[in-house]
Symmetry: C4
Subunit: 288 residues, 4 copies
């Protein structure tokens, strides 16, 4: 009986969706609430993209994890429950989607706990966290551990799970990477300025397949991050569908929710434990 | 007898062309009027690109909709009529191409009505509107409804038509999206800075086909937005021609003018009605 | 006996090379003269790229036109003559490569005439001009006509030659376009910031072929603009070679120097005459 | 017996890896040390990417050169030795990764010598240097020569090795180029802002192969620059592996460490000697 995090699969796929809705735009300035076109562009995510993606997951019978900002769960009351009812995991994605690196310690804590309160109110059990904008501070993993969550998914120190020796205790890190994020491929907004190029879904599918093939050689965690307001568009949803079909056809790839990977990784003694700490960068060498 | 907006087609294509000419550049600063090369780059649109595109539409026998800023119609007196005479629809695309989100309510109203006056003077009947830069304010759809237009085409809240409950009455929204806009693929200017990469028409054709195929699965509105100063270039015009030929060959795609889609959508009870309103973004959560 | 500018070819190709060397970087600030890596990047153009390109043109037996800033001709005394001796045309590309739109009328005139003086000193006969950065002012074509040159190649108002009714007399415009410039495809420098993406020569070859094919349908001028410091690199030189081979294999494409096209266009009564003038952009509509 | 730098190969490949770790980010501001996600993104290079790349080099039996900032060697004490023990070359890549063009002469000298001191302490013999950010000053090659190094690899004045007549004596330049750097293809960070587009490894492989094929025609130095934090990712490592396999299969390509190429180039009388000096850019022509 195996005790490895990967359960002898060549690679493990965690399909994750960040249900950001309006939050990444509002985090750049409340004034953008007045931009009707931009707000509708973001609302498309929960309104149209999310049900479409849930349908694809149903069609193909694969589980997924949805990272939801507390503000989104609060302003769309049935949303988190509707995801959980389909058998998927709902996880913590900050309250406001403002980056932790832009907040004071007290602000980061308040934002973190406000999201937990929303999910508690809604009866949604939370096991893991992802920092907004993938901009964790060095305090973030301590907050995750302190509040009893099992994993974080915001760092990039590996392409396999690893343990983090946070001060309140160990958690598991399920690392992300920009190259497995649909944002860099698809996002475009003129104001606030987001993105320079809108890539073809064919290119994105090629990129994802190449990464999965590489990961199957090295037994990695393919931690895909997609956004309903981006990958929910018809042509992109087809690319997502084809990627899942490709991974299923590989025959050696396992699909799992993040919490399941985290539980297995927590007890896999072959995985390293890291103590994240800031590099020793003295002002004599690095000003500013 | 069907009453659906799509008339049982798998997808509906509205070919739309924004005949912007110099306006998007002048909207970034009147000083650019002194840039002779840039002005000639924009004038290419009505002078060379537009007749070429009209020729392709004639060759292939498909109808289209041309969104024309009032300033352009005014400064090139015969332009709007020459489009209408070919059997295509002419629609409202602001007067100045300055974004509504940068204007006061009075300024937005004045710009909106000034364009209507130009079209009225020229005897061009207008049924719909598209906001400059796809930067509608929350007042925009009310202006559209107040002035008796049937549809707007500036929001992104769906990929099928939907009704908007504007204060003066319902209108139809024919949603757009950045991924079906040729601007993000082709536009390049050094000053004002527009665009970072000039894509190959082969990539754009691949992107459009992929989106159409996805839309045929989900029965959507393929609301293409092209610009004569961009897609009128020879190699890009070929890609446009090939896209239309591809869609025609699908056999299940319907081509229509925007006003026809809007009329059908206005009475299709299967479509949702939305009340666009700004999100409730408090200053405690979102500064700025 | 044909009198058309195209001489019955489906398309005419003018291969043009802007031998900019250090000038576009210095035009962004004299301080960059202190950046040794950047200066070597630019010097590669005349030192390595130019002889390589001349070799390809010899191999394939096609003529070309080289636009040389006066500063470059002056600082590398034998350069312009070595191009002319190979049977190619040398043309005026400003003195300093500073954009005309950033200069006063007196500065533009002085820069224009200083370049002419350099070429006169070197015994290089000049028939045409291209504005630095493709940023002509409305005075530029008057300067071209006043000094007895036959053509300009800086505007984008068409994709076929056209006549310009400049105040001192008519000249021919051989229009350019960003999509036929290798700069947007290949140029990258971190400081001054130039370019975001370095494209593959395979993509550039695809783009050029698509444009040529479109132009063969519409009988256009394929006015390629390449830079020795960019397209002189080995992989890109191969793409240039393949493009020329493709165009030769078409059988209906004519290669010519710019001055030859200009001479034919000057007397082709089927071509339009345009009077470039700034659009009437009032401060009430367009601030700034 | 050949005395040519290329030893009769059609092209020579120097695989070089810049083991930058956190330094390029810290060089943009010490405050980024507080960004945990970003720091983990950079630490991935030495922790995960580097061993993976060393494994590929072992698998395929090719030598490489690793440019290591002194700060990185100092903060990860065994790193440089572990590279040298595998038979690869370790070379000088500044101490701090701050660009020389941003430093005073005294600062540049101090940074240069501090790195040499770290390598001397660790018993690592250094033969060559590469400027941080490829932003050498005009003093840089003099520093290289003064300290007895044999080569620099920061300039772009050719695509074959050349000699530089530095004041303290001749050194060899092994030129680099942006198109053979994986940074422009793969790097993406939101803050500090790095990169706009994440390319597919398939595109990068196509680009590298095209350049190698062009270089085989012209007998050049294919001086690849990759970064463990970028090309160490699974899908990209596969592209690197495939590129090496392709080059090996060509049959006419030689792989070498930089110091070997420099030694051969130092005595190849067919190579040019250049005296890098700033262009004569007067303030009357180029302000700023």
């Amino acid at each position: 009986m195996t005790t490895h995090w990967h359960q002898d699969a060549a690679a493990v796929v965690t399909l994750t969706f960040d249900v950001d809705a309006e939050t990444p735009v509002l985090a750049q300035g409340r004034r953008y609430a007045g931009h009707a076109s931009t707000m509708s562009h973001q609302a498309y995510g929960p309104d149209v993209g999310l049900p479409r993606i849930l349908g694809i997951l149903d069609d193909l019978g694969v589980p997924a994890t949805f990272f939801v900002p507390g503000w989104v769960a609060e302003h769309r009351p049935g949303l988190a429950a509707s995801i959980a009812e389909r058998g998927h995991e709902v996880a913590h994605h900050s309250y406001s989607h403002r980056p932790a690196t832009s907040m004071t310690p007290a602000e980061e804590r308040a934002d973190f706990e406000r999201a937990l309160a929303v999910f508690a109110d809604q009866g949604i059990e939370i096991a893991g966290h992802r920092a907004a904008m993938w901009e964790a501070s060095w305090r973030t993993t301590d907050l995750v551990a302190e509040h009893g969550l099992r994993y974080d998914s915001s760092l990039m120190g590996d392409d396999r799970p690893y343990r983090i020796a946070a001060i309140p205790g160990d958690i598991v890190e399920l690392p992300v990477h920009w190259s497995l994020d649909d944002w860099e491929q698809y996002a475009f907004l003129p104001e606030p300025h987001v993105g320079s190029v809108i890539e073809s879904p064919a290119k994105v599918l090629e990129l994802w397949r190449a990464e999965l093939d590489g990961m199957r050689r090295y037994r990695c965690l393919f931690n895909l991050c997609a956004h309903p307001f981006l990958s929910g568009r018809p042509g992109r949803a087809e690319a997502l569908r084809r990627f899942i079909e490709y991974a299923l056809a590989c025959g050696d790839v396992r699909f799992a929710r993040c919490r399941e990977v985290a539980e297995a990784a927590a007890v896999d003694q072959d995985l390293p434990t890291r103590r994240p700490r800031p590099p020793d960068a003295g002002p004599d060498v690095y000003p500013g």
